[in-house]
């Protein structure tokens, strides 16, 4: 091999190596696509909503869903939680989800008092659009397994009909996989909207774009600080 050929070979090899090594490095540093990590499967469930209809985890597959857990008799103590959900509902109008349905679900852990009509009142008071935001509850043992076990959210009935509980919001993707758990403080709407849009973009990606998202799951996951 002449020195010239050798140099050409070396340069070609160098370029190939650079492309191979820089692609994932670029992914890690520049993060051209960002993905929310897949945390775990969201639990399967059957609940009853404010219109007395069954609401199941299957009904919500194919949608991006933000869950929260509370009880209607909570009143003013839960004002921030209700306001956050209502404002999220309002902000969803400006979300670019490309036709991907986005739903909000408030699950009550107080089935004794939260009959469908009580849930209907709570939904009306909160300003819920029933097409977007559902209020639902279930049977108390399965609720404990669902909320405490499946969603990992603590709640405990107190003495005078109140509950102590942690306010948590859980974002689930269209496949039914938990993607973000906002815990400890109410998240900023900007973060939630960004996360919802990110999930919608990812769910719509096909072909090479889909592969880029899958690569991002390996190289450039980001997580929200909750």
């Amino acid at each position: 091999m002449t020195p010239k050929k050798r140099r050409v070979l070396r340069i070609t090899l160098g370029i190939a190596v650079a492309v191979i090594t820089l692609t994932p490095l670029g992914f890690a540093v520049l993060q051209p696509v960002k993905v929310l990590p897949r945390i775990s499967l969201a639990p399967g469930f059957q609940l009853t909503d404010a219109s007395g209809q069954r609401l199941t985890s299957d009904d919500l597959k194919g949608s991006i869903v933000l869950y929260t857990f509370t009880y209607s008799a909570c009143g003013d103590r839960c004002a921030e939680q209700t306001r956050f959900m209502r404002e999220t509902q309002e902000r969803l109008a400006e979300v670019e989800s490309g036709g991907m349905p986005v739903r909000l679900v408030t699950v009550s852990f107080d089935p004794e008092r939260d009959s469908p009509s009580a849930l209907r009142d709570a939904a009306a008071k909160a300003g819920a659009d029933p097409r977007v935001w559902s209020f639902a509850t279930g049977e108390s043992t399965s609720l404990k397994a669902l909320i405490g076990g499946g969603f990992n959210v603590y709640y405990e009935p107190g003495e005078e009909g109140d509950f102590s509980f942690e306010t948590v919001y859980v974002l689930v993707d269209p496949l039914g996989i938990k993607r973000v758990v906002y815990r400890y403080q109410t998240p900023a709407h900007e973060s939630v909207i960004r996360d919802v849009e990110g999930l919608a973009r990812e769910a719509r990606a096909e072909g090479m774009a889909h592969l880029a998202y899958e690569a991002a799951h390996l190289f450039s996951c980001y997580s929200t600080p909750y």
Binding site: I20, T21, R38, G44, G149, G150, H210
Partner: protein
């Protein structure tokens, strides 16, 4: 100088090859042609113990093999026999690689589905299939943790001849015991076989 260049080149090549191995795995084996939803990195799969006709079985008994997990019931008129026969056909298409796959059906109707009845049912599709049942609580916990909903169909009333509505997603669990892929209900057997070939090749 030349030596340093070679070392650098060698190191980059090594790193590049390693990266290509991970990053390119999907490209090489045509992940774009997958039919189910590939979950990478895989999700933790909850281990469980349920009852087969031969006694208790744990999911982790199958570490080292790919598990195809389906939740259904033996009185199921449509989706369960269809899914089980598709899984059976897919495994047949895998030929000798089928030994590396264990199909498991968990009953979401444990009241009527004894372990014996489950065994008889699944083995009519493939003698190697495993049918599991358990107490109502056990089944409910396992199903929920795999994102499976089930409930007696409202139209069935109180009769013993009821139907059960349930999630018919199939979960594919890796030999390491993690959730690797989710199959939607309407997947054909060739599509299942093609996905399994991809997973087994990795």
């Amino acid at each position: 100088m030349r030596r340093r260049t070679s070392i650098l080149l060698g190191a980059s090549l090594g790193l590049g090859a390693a990266v290509l191995f991970v990053f390119g795995a999907n490209l090489r084996s045509g992940a774009t042609a997958l039919n189910g939803a590939l979950i990478e990195p895989p999700l933790p799969a909850e281990d469980f113990t349920l009852t087969s006709v031969a006694g208790p079985v744990r999911l982790s008994d199958f570490l080292g093999r790919t598990v195809v997990l389906f939740f259904g019931y033996t009185h199921c008129p449509d989706v369960c026999p269809l899914t089980m026969s598709r899984v059976a056909q897919a495994l047949k298409a895998l030929e000798s690689d089928a030994d590396r796959v264990q199909a498991i059906m968990v009953s979401i109707d444990p009241e009527r589905d004894s372990p014996g009845r489950m065994a008889e049912y699944v083995q009519s599709f493939n003698p190697g299939f495993l049918g599991l049942s358990g107490s109502a609580e056990e089944v409910s916990r396992v199903a929920a943790s795999y994102g499976i909903f089930y409930a007696r169909a409202a139209a069935s009333g109180e009769s013993d001849d009821y139907l059960v509505d349930h999630t018919a997603t199939v979960t594919v669990i890796s030999p390491e015991g993690s959730i690797q892929m989710l199959w939607p209900t309407d997947l054909r057997s060739e599509e299942m076989a093609s996905d399994l070939r991809y997973l087994l090749r990795r």
